[in-house]
Symmetry: none
Subunit: 200 residues, 4 copies
DNA sequence: CATGAATGAGCATTCATTCAT
DNA sequence: TATGAATGAATGCTCATTCAT
């Protein structure tokens, strides 16, 4: 009621509060979906997290699935950006190890709620709809990025190595979550870094 | 009074349909929960899969969670038995590779619905109740089994290796499911077998 | 399975376990209905209190209402007997005061669950069926008994006094129950005894 | 859009159907609960009486108990107001007799469904929850009001008299209901008025 | 656009009653 | 007669979605 302006100015081309709300909804959705899973999350949960009236959600998203889709897309954007940011490391090995370190830094959150992408995939893969396919896109990003790094290292088996790396991460994220033990990730990360170092 | 044997064949000392139904319900639950996930599965789904009237489910299980719990327990039993059956291989290495092969053999199902344990853990870890804890028990079984094998190989880092192996499997199961590509699992399995062979 | 005989011998004219069970069911029903009310009591509750398998109840009573009816009838019998037993007091006044004292002695139970007759009437009066009418019969007993006593005292307004007395008791039973305070009944009983003494 | 005024007439500053519906639900609940009792009344019954779709009830009340609670509270309000309105009589005796007369005027309804407060207390006292306690509050109101009147008459035993009066009313209400005979209340009311007159 | 309210299909669960043996 | 099991209608409650303003 007070600082609507502050909250809502966001881009310079005439969009107004709508933009802010849409983003708030997506951000809220990402948080709540990560913490609770897709099926267990109601639109009301998301609306509340975003501080948006429930009825209003439908001016931004036609259905709940649409909003979930948008949350996944936003997630994909962030992942892409994060991966891009890793490019400044000079060598492919350095980049791969930087990825590992980055993921490890989130171990506390992971131990509580699992890897956001992994959780989404695991849950939505059961469904045979657009949402399931979106998840696959999400998972492709780090795999292809890692494949490029391994490729830059001259590895013929770059794809296989990339898959192995990401699988290891997804797996250890799941175990970290299952046992609520962040240390599991720390140890596995060290192992993976050593592994990367050992290649070639 | 008539054909007890034919309908209820189960044991020779008076057990009747009750036993069969309880098991049918648990089996039905395991199937449907694997295929659809816990939250998306209604009691009606399970009852239908087990060919039991919905109202009757409550004669055997007090709540839906109770039934899910029983399904998890049954799953744990099977896992334990399966692991025990691997003991007949002579060397720890042979046992570990046999495990990998066995898991790989299920790649078609995994590619459609994911690893049953992994899916359950991923979904139920979000909850902070008994069910979540049951999942952890489920996941412990293969890890501790693998740890024993690596230990028998004389590895000091047996636990870490066990975690790494199971993590790799869980991760590749997730990717296999996400991309609906059983081949992913085949390739990763080869890699893991080679890795096991390379140890010591 | 073991001491069926011991449990079921009950009368000497050839009746067997049936009699014992029927009575146990009725007794169980009376207890549980008093404590929980009619609508809140399931057949399973009663069967359990009577230690009789649920399915078996239907060999003794066609419906739940039938069993409730029988419980009310048994209650009526007991009330009639109790009132008859009061006849040994020499004067009507003594009899009336004895009734008051007797009711007061149950104040602890009344404070927890109310007057059994009152509760039944209050709940079943809402219904327009046989059960409601049974309750009226139940309530008539003490009124008519009291009316006879007041009549024997030579009161022309015997009926009115009887109604007033029973009403006072029913009312104080309700308040005693509502406030969980047995003392309320003690005090009102003293008042009613004084009132009886003051008549004529 | 059309006849909002007629349907929702309630206040002139923008209040809308919400207000009307909440009240309609409470009013409907009061009626139906009085007529059928708490346990026998389904939410659908109440919703129908209030002409509100069942699912919508939950927009106004979180649970059935919540709605019952609200109905009790509304009842308490009305009782309080009614008692306050009796204050305009000049003497305590006049007030007490006015109360008796007022209650007697409802004898037709009472003979069909019992005293609303009494029924609620009788039924809910069996439960050991918030609802039971609310009922006690409801019953306290007339007792304390009567106590004040007897106190104003200089009676040291004001509380006891108040309890006796309300008990008599509750009891006769029960008998009136049980025997479906409004005359019972008429006669007892006369007796109580005489009794009040006879005091001091 | 915004919002509180409305709607109805769906779900877990209960329970009186019936059935098969 | 005895009994565990079966059945299905009903109930309280949830929630995605829509409506009215």
């Amino acid at each position: 009621m007070t600082d609507l302006v502050g909250v809502e100015r966001r881009d310079g081309h005439g969009a107004r509060s709508a933009v802010g709300k849409r983003e708030r909804l997506i951000d809220g959705a990402r948080q709540v979906l990560h913490a609770q899973g897709v099926e267990s999350t109601t639109l009301a949960d998301i609306a509340k997290a975003a501080d948006v009236p429930v009825g209003n959600v439908y001016y931004y998203f036609k259905t709940k699935d649409d909003l979930v889709q948008a949350a996944i897309a936003a997630h994909a954007d962030e992942v892409a950006n994060t991966l891009a940011a890793l490019e400044h490391h000079r060598t492919p090995k350095a980049r791969l190890k930087a990825l590992i370190r980055m993921l490890t830094e989130q171990r506390e959150l992971t131990s509580r709620y699992g890897c956001p992408q992994g959780s989404l995939c695991s849950e939505l893969d059961k469904r045979d709809d657009e949402l399931g396919r979106s998840c696959a896109q999400l998972m492709k990003l780090p795999i292809e990025w890692a494949e490029r790094q391994f490729g830059a290292m001259g590895r013929r088996d770059a794809r296989e190595l990339a898959v192995a790396l990401i699988a290891s991460y997804q797996g250890i994220a799941l175990l970290t979550n299952t046992f609520r033990d962040p240390e599991l990730m720390t140890r596995e990360a060290r192992r993976l870094e050593r592994w990367v170092d050992s290649l070639n």
